[in-house]
Symmetry: D4
Subunit: 147 residues, 8 copies
């Protein structure tokens, strides 16, 4: 049995690589999917495909249509969603992905430092599990496969 995991969160560092690496070391039958991690490409994909837009707002709309299309298709394939929050960035798209997973009843693991417990209290309440580090998320996923 295999599981597909959607990794939602900021695309400014390589936290996903750490998770994939750990999964590999633990030999877990997991497939990881997620957003475009090249931040510049993610912001520019709208104009790249649809051409120059009138202003920054429309540029963002164009990019978002394409990025959301990607998220929708990939999250539909996921058996579980992992959403990572950190101190930096507004991360409203991460909150959107996490909440969407919860509303669609896809099991959700939320990773957040203890310091962010207050602004994330409502979202935490909706998650299946709240942990503080990607390693803990991996341990929980690993537990699913233990006989």
């Amino acid at each position: 049995m295999e599981l597909t995991v959607y990794l939602a969160g900021q695309i400014h560092d390589d936290w996903r690589e750490q998770i994939k690496s750990q999964a590999k070391d633990m030999n877990l039958p997991l497939t990881f999917v997620g957003p475009m991690e090249d931040h510049e490409r993610s912001d520019n994909i709208g104009e790249e495909i649809l051409g120059k837009q009138p202003n920054a707002i429309f540029k963002d709309e164009a990019a978002s249509s394409i990025n959301n299309l990607r998220t929708d298709i990939l999250m539909n394939k996921a058996d579980v969603v992992v959403a990572l929050f950190g101190e930096k960035y507004k991360q409203w798209n991460t909150a959107m992905d996490a909440a969407r997973a919860a509303a669609l009843h896809k099991p959700l693991i939320l990773i957040r430092p203890e310091a962010l417990h207050h602004p994330l209290k409502e979202l935490s309440s909706k998650a299946s599990l709240v942990v503080e580090t990607p390693q803990q998320a991996m341990q929980a996923l690993s537990y699913i496969f233990e006989s």
Copy 2:
């Protein structure tokens, strides 16, 4: 025909009162529901009902269970959800409410200043309508009732 509107957003100022006031002036058959707006009561309701908790994190969990219960019940009654974002506060609970509405296919009006278009691009793409002020949201709601 009447509509019930869930007003999601921060509870640090009285933006909801402005909306309700405008609706009244326009004679719109709207019922408004939303979260507890007394910020202190909202944070303390967990310990008020369940008793003192071991630490701040558990205090938040207790309050969130009760606040989410309220949101779930009231949002279920809503025909449309309005979510307001501003420059202050993390607003991850607002993003959660907005995304939940979208995922549950409840029509969603997102209010955000133009300056926040970038971090809200993905959520904006999921909303039925994006406006910049509560007045514009009210105009859109009013339009629904015009013959």
Copy 3:
């Protein structure tokens, strides 16, 4: 027992008035909802609320967000959808409303002249009932209330 009926179709003539008038004469407990029928207002509502847009395409996008918001909210209230097709206009929005009703399993009555049977064959197959005139649609609705 009352029924709410969503009237989907072009907004260039007063076919809806005829239907409402017939329902009144027949004393049927029906509430009718539908799109904005003032064609100019429907096209301009985007710029009216959101301000001038960069070009005609964005002007249409703005208006459509608001018109779709209205359709979504009102069609959700409907017990049955009536979609009228005629020889004039592309009517892709009507086809969209009709198909959406069918996909959402809302009973659908399709009104179309016999001459349009060929291009409407697939949509007709999805409708609960296909008639040629609004009067026939009203007869079918009236039949629901007969003991």
Copy 4:
């Protein structure tokens, strides 16, 4: 990971072949499904299987049952739907397929020339993404697979 794509649109030229060809060149793991492209066979399949019908309307009904059966089964298998609109033909069946996909929450890419933006404004608003050429649609699909 593979994706199944339903190609909705007129069956009077070979636009689907161009898409499949491009997908092949780009080495994308896509499976394409769609309607019967032999226009004559599509119109005659009802009488071919069920025998001669009383008149043209019933002939169309018979064919539509079978064509809709095919669409329903194949669209159910799709992860994403692409709907192409052009200047010719009424294309109400295309609008039906596109709207059905949107209502069923299947991601939808709408391809239409800029000249058709007005009659397609409502449907465009419901699509995940709107582009002007099949090539742009392929670029968007390709983007989903990029790491």
Copy 5:
């Protein structure tokens, strides 16, 4: 609290009147809905509204569209469905209504004489409750309102 009850079954005798009468005597807050009980009108409604059809099969199709439209709309309003089976008539439409209710998770009370237990065994297994007479069905409905 009121309940709406859909009475599915043959329309060749007045068994529904007995049920409504008993409900009235017991003062139960029930609203009853059901199919057209005038058998001739039910069979002819297609041609009455749509005009003469090519043959008996098409005459039946026309009537069924309209009768199913009525059933769909009224059964959607029901809180519970009662389906009565008897020794006479094929009653495949009753089996369809009963099975549809069960598949849609609407509570279903099946009334059948003991002699029909064998051919109705699968449908009985899907019903919430199986009784032998309309009086027993009424007793069960009455029980719902007892404090």
Copy 6:
């Protein structure tokens, strides 16, 4: 705005009366629904309506059909479910009602003494809120109506 509350739990004492009484004192717009509270009647209703059954197991099956019919219809009307657990009785039907509410995404308040936290840990995790007394449940419900 009113709410309907389903009170699930053992029917051996009058805990429901305490809740209704408190709601009345607090002037809350709540309607309470629940199972038959006369324990003997609840056990015997099967044979009362359907006649004597072959043995105790079939007697229970007959009664359960009718009691579940009542639960299904009434729980469908509920906006929120309250499930009470205590030290006595197996209460598997209560666990069933609670779990059913959670699975159907109806907000659920679970009332249990602290001593039962261990065997109820999984069910507690699925509830919207866990409290120890009916009074606390009422306080949470009351909080929903506070402006």
Copy 7:
């Protein structure tokens, strides 16, 4: 691409073998599932597994639980359902299977001789396609795979 087909209908003759044979000859990638075809085994399976039951009615209930379990699991796997009706037998279980498929929005092909058009008129209206012979059903299924 493969399709799973559920064959619903009486189990008194080998009509399913003819369908499977034709599918094989036509090289169609179809997997067929269906009920237990050994009529005696189907009727006795309840007592075979659960032991002797008090009377014929309970014997049927026991068997139906097991046969419905099989139908539920296998029909869930189906992409399309084929339901065959003939002049003999009450076939209420077939009507149940067909109606359940339609209500669950699984495409449904109904096979019935012309002579049964009247009692099957409502069910026919709900089917995706109505044919008169298994061969016609196979032609329709084959059409799905044609490029």
Copy 8:
């Protein structure tokens, strides 16, 4: 065709091994999934991954989040759920799993000794099939594969 079976029930003895063993002997294409069977590990997994918790109640909450995450993910993969009840232990989590399966319309086989028929009467009524031993459950599953 293969089936995935979720085995819900107490984790204090090896009843699952007996079932898997029997399935193997009967050569059935079944995949079994279930909870963590090491009772101590199941109770401690919360603190193992998340660290020491303030008290026993929070220790249980932490473990339950992780155990429920496992159940949710694995039960989503199941085609059928088997729930075993016995004389020992409160088994409210088993009742929760069984009821959740029934509410989600996953076929459910309930195994319980005759002596427990009374407290399990409501849950039994919701199950697809009730048997007294794991062997009978296996016979029913085996029957699904018989031609």
